[in-house]
């Protein structure tokens, strides 16, 4: 077995375009090894969510993948029939969404929303699913699971809903979780708790996570590897410790300079230096040129 076949997730040269021809993903390559947390960091609009959605097969219809492969535990997602791909993704991945307020169906009770994948996609018995969900609710420190399971989403706070969603994500023991800025929409006081919770469950369950964030502080806290994304292009990737010790790309350095205390997850990014941006623009224009005229 070679190293690539063992990757939990392997994205190779992924490009995606909008209807107007604009590339939102520019030959993105990244991999997540089993049990590791890979941070995907970049400013708002860089295409982080797009990458997550591409992996999970839920890109908006307007976004078209034009190039590249995605391998989930060695299975080429692009080569599978839609139904097989859906089932595979449903069985082996999970999503912790950005906004817990909109990620639960307002007209369904929490209980069935947490168990439906276990029962209807994975074929577990209702009893087994119930037991499992209670166990996970305990792990995310929800003290009164009976009440919570009977609640409608609007009866729970944002933090509680995110706990519910985290519990549901880990319940089926997925190999890969895509966490898309899972703390951004929460109250500042709750953000740290939720981040700690995800880190703890990740360690205990050994789940690989593609952790999307715009926050270098969060990157430092949770990830072993990191990819820096700018305008849909990975400009740098490294082990997290190495990146902070010696950032290679000017954009990464600029991001760090703009985040004075990058260990503080609450610090937000400041604007990046003009000269760096100009350099990036040239780099991206060159990449697009090469992409459009591969022989020219």
């Amino acid at each position: 077995m070679n190293a690539l076949a063992k990757s939990c997730l392997d994205i190779r040269d992924l490009s995606a375009v909008l209807p107007n021809g604009l590339r939102v993903l520019r030959s993105v390559s990244l991999s997540v090894q089993p049990g590791e947390v890979r941070a995907l960091v970049g400013e708002s609009g860089a295409g982080k969510t797009m990458i997550g959605k591409a992996v999970l097969g839920v890109l908006p219809p307007s976004v078209r993948i034009v190039e590249g492969d995605m391998l989930l535990e060695g299975e080429d997602l692009g080569k599978l029939q839609p139904k097989a791909r859906r089932t595979l993704i449903g069985a082996r991945t999970a999503l912790i969404p950005q906004d817990p307020l909109t990620a639960l169906n307002p007209s369904r009770r929490i209980g069935p929303q947490m168990t439906d994948r276990l029962v209807r996609i994975l074929g577990w018995s209702g009893e087994k699913a119930d037991t499992r969900i209670r166990q996970l609710l305990d792990e995310v420190q929800i003290r009164d699971p009976e009440r919570v399971l009977k609640c409608y989403p609007h009866e729970l706070s944002g933090g509680m809903r995110q706990r519910v969603l985290i519990a549901a994500a880990f319940a089926a023991e997925p190999r890969l979780i895509v966490a898309d800025e899972p703390t951004t929409a929460l109250d500042v006081t709750v953000q740290k708790q939720i981040l700690r919770l995800i880190a703890q469950l990740q360690r205990e369950h050994g789940t690989a996570i593609l952790f999307v964030t715009h926050d270098l502080g969060v990157v430092a806290k949770i990830s072993q590897k990191v990819s820096v994304l700018y305008a849909g292009k990975v400009v740098e990737e490294a082990e997290t410790a190495a990146l902070f010790a010696a950032p290679q790309h000017p954009y990464t350095r600029a991001l760090m300079a703009a985040t004075p205390r990058y260990t503080d997850p609450l610090a937000s990014l400041k604007p990046v230096d003009e000269a760096v941006l100009a350099g990036l623009a040239a780099e991206i224009a060159a990449a697009d040129q090469a992409w459009r005229h591969p022989h020219g």
């Binding site: 993704i89 999970a94 999503l95 307002p106 439906d116 996609i121």
Partner: protein, 335 residues
């Protein structure tokens, strides 16, 4: 709290009905046309006319007439039909079931056609299938129910006469029914031969009534579905591995149906209004058909009775829509 809301609701309904009664009472008496003159053969004397007017209470002032009528209504006496010389309440109660059956069958058809095409269109959004559905619903909507009735009569009554286009049931049949709900009773009695005959008669008027409503349901529900299908919880359901059809039926439909439901309530009252002309077109013996006769004959007590029953139907429909809305929306249920 809930009881209070319910009582307020009842009071509003009573006021609405009273208002309708007053308006109709006045309008049909101010409008030209004299029921008594129409009843009598040519050459009747003024004395004859005056005697009959007194008999039906038409010699009193409108205000007096109204309160006499209202006192009767409160006791359950809606007066006597001038043209048919029968008890108005009996006539109306006898005809109402035919209209209710027609309206309900039309509503079910509209929900089935509109719902299916909406779900299909949402699932196939952006494709030729959706475009086709849009064109069809646009066409269905731009033609009103009575014109659909005429089109259907020309198509299936004249060009290719495959359906009975006249009446409610084949006259030669022996009917064992004890209620006027022929269709429902035939099903309960397992007399499916009669069900078939009744449905065959009902099919075209019901389709004529259903098509515009089906188009409205289709367009609105498809639009709401498409909006809901972009929401985060639907994306999450797709990630869980559910198919697009499962996602629509399990996650999206209920939430998307709420705005449609309110509209269906309003539109259903329009559909019932549409039965008046459509029943006439297909000689279907319902309340609407009788209403037209009543208007032609200036049968004041009968018109009043029919209009009041229609108004009662409308407020009841609105009430049940509100109740269903609260039932489907957990936020209202607990709020």
């Amino acid at each position: 709290m809930l009881l209070q809301r319910f009582l307020i609701r009842l009071l509003t309904m009573a006021i609405t009905l009273f208002g309708v009664a007053v308006v109709v009472f006045v309008v049909i008496r101010v409008a030209p046309g004299d029921p008594i003159a129409m009843m009598l053969p040519p050459g009747a004397t003024d004395a004859d006319i005056a005697r009959l007017r007194a008999l039906y209470g038409l010699d009193k002032t409108i205000v007096q007439q109204f309160f006499i009528w209202l006192a009767g209504v409160v006791r359950g006496d809606f007066g006597t039909s001038i043209s048919l010389r029968q008890d108005v309440l009996g006539l109306v109660v006898n005809r109402l079931p035919a209209t209710l059956e027609l309206a309900i069958v039309a509503l079910l058809m509209a929900l089935a056609i509109g719902g299916t095409t909406a779900i299909l269109g949402a699932r196939e959004r952006g494709t030729a299938v959706e475009a086709g559905i849009d064109i069809a619903s646009g066409a269905a909507l731009s033609i009103p129910d009575f014109l659909w009735g005429l089109v259907l009569i020309l198509l299936f009554g004249v060009l290719v006469p495959v359906f009975d286009i006249s009446g409610r049931v084949s006259p030669q049949l022996n009917l064992p029914f004890v209620t006027q709900f022929y269709l429902f009773e035939s099903i309960v009695r397992l007399r499916f031969d009669l069900t078939k005959d009744l449905l065959a008669h009902m099919l075209m008027p019901a389709v004529a009534l259903a098509l515009p409503l089906a188009a409205i349901i289709s367009q609105l529900l498809k639009q709401s579905l498409k909006e809901v299908l972009d929401l985060d919880y639907v994306v999450l359901a797709r990630v869980k591995g559910f198919s697009e059809t499962q996602v629509i039926l399990r996650e999206a439909l209920k939430n998307a149906a709420l705005p449609t439901l309110t509209l269906v309530g309003v539109q259903f009252t329009f559909l019932i209004g549409g039965t008046v002309i459509v029943e006439r077109l297909f000689s279907y013996e319902g309340l609407g058909n009788m209403a037209i006769d009543a208007v032609i004959n200036r049968d004041l007590p009968l018109i009043q009775g029919i209009v009041l029953v229609f108004a009662l139907l409308f407020v009841l429909i609105n009430l049940s829509v509100d109740m269903m809305y609260a039932l489907l929306n957990p936020r209202l249920r607990h709020g």
